[in-house]
Subunit: 69 residues, 6 copies
């Protein structure tokens, strides 16, 4: 499988927080960091996503902001 996105990282779902229609999914990365995704609860349920699942974190490069502090 190939994605048209520069950023692709493997991780494990560590936590899911649900709101009214949106949810926040926290993914632990192998190196110890985390990446967080916000999606609809409908998508979460369609994916049947739960804590412990292996996922690929995909981010298009246009959505990545660099800051020089």
């Amino acid at each position: 499988m190939e994605y048209g996105a520069r950023n692709q990282i493997q991780g494990i779902v560590a936590e899911v927080k649900k709101g009214g229609i949106m949810c926040e999914v926290i993914v632990e990365l192998p190196g110890g960091g985390v990446m967080t995704s916000v999606m609809t609860i409908d998508s979460l349920e369609d994916m049947n996503l739960t804590v412990g699942d292996k996922v690929k974190v995909v981010v298009k490069a246009v959505n990545v902001l660099l800051v020089k502090e």
Copy 2:
């Protein structure tokens, strides 16, 4: 400094590729991975960004897609 975004990672600019008005900036992360950002060359020049610079990579959680392969 505080950002209204869930995903914030420190890295070092490893490469800059320029097109006509856009550029692609590859950032090396401490763990050995990379993150890539696409921005305008105007922003690159305003930031005076060059290879070797320390940057923060910022991504809002709504722009993170999870895939279960």
Copy 3:
């Protein structure tokens, strides 16, 4: 501090509306207009953001849509 984004405007937080996991932050601009941001409540709390705070509103140019009415 330098941001890899074309659009950067100073403003003052005027109102925060909280939902289940997301919140809506309304920022008043010096010229009298407003800009609104949606983020997670987790990010709001990490920033310790409250009404009256001075913030920078940052938008990448790829996320700006122009319409000719």
Copy 4:
């Protein structure tokens, strides 16, 4: 006409810079500020957009990042 986006600002196209397939459109706002949009040259041509045109600048709130410096 009504848009499903929190941020809507009237402006005048001040400059268009073209790359290979993308272009950068700088819009002057009434208050003196500017907003910049990046789009495909195909979209620019379909809109028949030129310097001096009146446009509405539309940004969804999820794409607005707040920073507390």
Copy 5:
């Protein structure tokens, strides 16, 4: 009216699901498919959007991800 976005599809609002501050709007397309938008409830109310309304679905090409399975 002209939009600076490659993807523009006509449809009819089929369902609105409301959360705390965000809502999910499901739009039926002529060909039988659906497109879903997430926006703030504030925007929904400003648009006075209800089931049965004719809408244009607009997506900038930079926000479209292609996957080769």
Copy 6:
């Protein structure tokens, strides 16, 4: 395979236009419409994407704008 995005449509790559670092990929949908994606040429090459390839078009609902004309 499951994606954390509401909008997923099958299509066939009809055309690829290349700029300096970005490219524009036009995808024909079964119903006769088209969807266009902009990505880096690096991603295009990593995917080995060419005209005639079957792809899935994926769009997160937060990136879908509705307009009531």
